[in-house]
Symmetry: C2
Subunit: 249 residues, 2 copies
C-alpha cells in the first residue's frame, strides 16, 4: 500500500450522493486559504453511491449500510488518513459505531454545524431540513439541545414533503425543481416564526449559494463540515470565517 507516500491527511466517505460530495470537495477547496496548489490538503475521496438508502436502513434497522461504511473506514485507515469526513448527514446515525473501529478522527457533521452557529447565530430556534432517517435517528435533536438550541420542524405536513422532494430532485440532477421545493420549505419555516434553518442534508447544500431564504438565517452543513475539517487539520485558524453562512433577503 503506497498511500502513505502520498501524505493523504483527510479521508472523505462520499457519493451519498455524488453531487453533495462534489459540493463538499469544492467548498473545502474554496475555504482553504491558498494561493497555489501546494497550499491545499492532500486527501482521498471514496465515492460509493451504491450504498443502500440510509433512511430505509435506519427505519428498518438494517445493518447493511454500516457494513459498507466500515469497509470505507478501513480503506481510509489503510491509506493513513488522520481525519475522516462524511458529507452525508443521515450516515451519522452510525457515527459511534464507526468511531469505535478507527484510530482516525471522524469529524461529526452536527458538531461542525453547532460550532458554526456558535460563531454567528444569536437566536435559539432552529429548523432542521433533513431526511426522515436523520430525524428518526435523533442525533440532530440531541446535539442541538445539548448546545442550547431549540430543535424544531414546522408542523405543516407539506413541509417535510417539500424537503423530501428537494432531496430527491437533487439526486435526480434536477436542481431547478429542487430549488423551488426548498424555497417552499423555507416559506413554511417563516410562516411559523422560525428564524434560522439548517441544510441538514448535504443534497440541499448543493443549493446553498443560489437559494433565497428571504430573511431566514441559513446554515449549511457541508460548509460547516469543510470548515471544521480545515480547522482540525490546521489549515484554518480558529477565528470566525464569514463565508460559512449568510443572511439572505
Amino acid at each position: 500500500m503506497t498511500g502513505d507516500a502520498l501524505g493523504l491527511r483527510l479521508g472523505i466517505i462520499g457519493g451519498l450522493g455524488p453531487l453533495a460530495s462534489a459540493d463538499f470537495y469544492r467548498k473545502l477547496t474554496e475555504l482553504t486559504p491558498a494561493r497555489a496548489d501546494t497550499d491545499h490538503l492532500p486527501l482521498v475521496l471514496l465515492s460509493i453511491p451504491q450504498l443502500p438508502d440510509r433512511t430505509q436502513a435506519i427505519l428498518s434497522g438494517s445493518d447493511e449500510v454500516l457494513t459498507q461504511l466500515l469497509a470505507a473506514v478501513r480503506t481510509l485507515d489503510a491509506l493513513g488518513v488522520e481525519s475522516i469526513a462524511i458529507p452525508c448527514n443521515t450516515a451519522h446515525h452510525w457515527f459511534d459505531r464507526l468511531t469505535a473501529e478507527t484510530s482516525a478522527d471522524i469529524v461529526h457533521i452536527v458538531d461542525s454545524v453547532v460550532e458554526d452557529m456558535a460563531r454567528s447565530f444569536a437566536g435559539r430556534r432552529v429548523a432542521v431540513l433533513a431526511t426522515p432517517g436523520t430525524l428518526s435517528s435523533g442525533f440532530y435533536q440531541h446535539r442541538l439541545l445539548s448546545a442550547g438550541y431549540e430543535f424544531c420542524v414546522p408542523s405543516s405536513a407539506s413541509f417535510q414533503r417539500e424537503v423530501d422532494r428537494a432531496i430527491a430532485d437533487v439526486k435526480a440532477g434536477d436542481i431547478q425543481s429542487a430549488s423551488v421545493a426548498l424555497g417552499e420549505a423555507f416559506r413554511h419555516c417563516r410562516e411559523e416564526g422560525i428564524e434560522a434553518a439548517i441544510l441538514a442534508c448535504t443534497e440541499l447544500s448543493v443549493m446553498s449559494r443560489e437559494v433565497d431564504g428571504a430573511g431566514l438565517t441559513i446554515m449549511d452543513s457541508n460548509s460547516a463540515l469543510a470548515t471544521a475539517c480545515l480547522r482540525r487539520l490546521g489549515l484554518l485558524a480558529g477565528s470566525v470565517q464569514p463565508a460559512l453562512h449568510r443572511r439572505i433577503g
Copy 2:
C-alpha cells in the same frame, strides 16, 4: 486492503489543482444518466496538490512528479480500479510511463478531446489553451495532427500571458480575474481567424460554463475526459452527448 469490497471502478488522480478536480467530479456526476445515487459510478479520487509544478518539471527534465504520479497509480491499482482518469492535461506528459506500470486503463485526456471534436466540430484549425509544459511536451500537437486537425497557438505574445494568468488566477481562487484573462485569450484567437479553442488546462475548465467565447467553438478537456470515462465504463452509450461542448455567442 478492503477497497475491493467497495467495488471502486474509476480512479482519479486529482488535486492538480483541486478546483479542476472538483469540476471534473461534478461534470462526471452531471453527465451520468442517473435518477438516483445507485446509478452513479463508484470511484476513488486522490487529491495530491503537493505534487511539484508540472511545467517546471517538464522544462527542467525532473522526474520528481513522475515518482509521485506512480505512487498514486499504485495506490489506485491496490484499490482495484478498472480505469484511471487524470484531470490535468500537463501531467499527460508522463502518460506512457504511467501506462507501462499499471494494468488499469488510463484514459488519455487528448484522445477524449479528439473523440469529442470528431462528433461535432466540422472545422480543422484549433487553438490550444494550455500550460507551457503541455505545449513544450508536444502531446497535443501530436494527437491533434494524427486525428487530422491543425494545431495552432495565436502568434501574439500576450496570448500565452493571458492563458498563464487565467490558470494562476484559478489556482489562487480568483475566478473573476481568471475569466477576464480567458476572455482576452479568446479575443486573440478570433483576431487570428481561429474558429475553435480547446480548454486544454483543466483549471480553465472550471470556467467552461460561464465564459463567453463570442463565436468560438469551445471544447472542454474536463468534460471530454468525464464523458470518455463514462463511455469506457459502460455508463454512457456511444451516441453524441450534446452537453460536451457548445457554441457560444
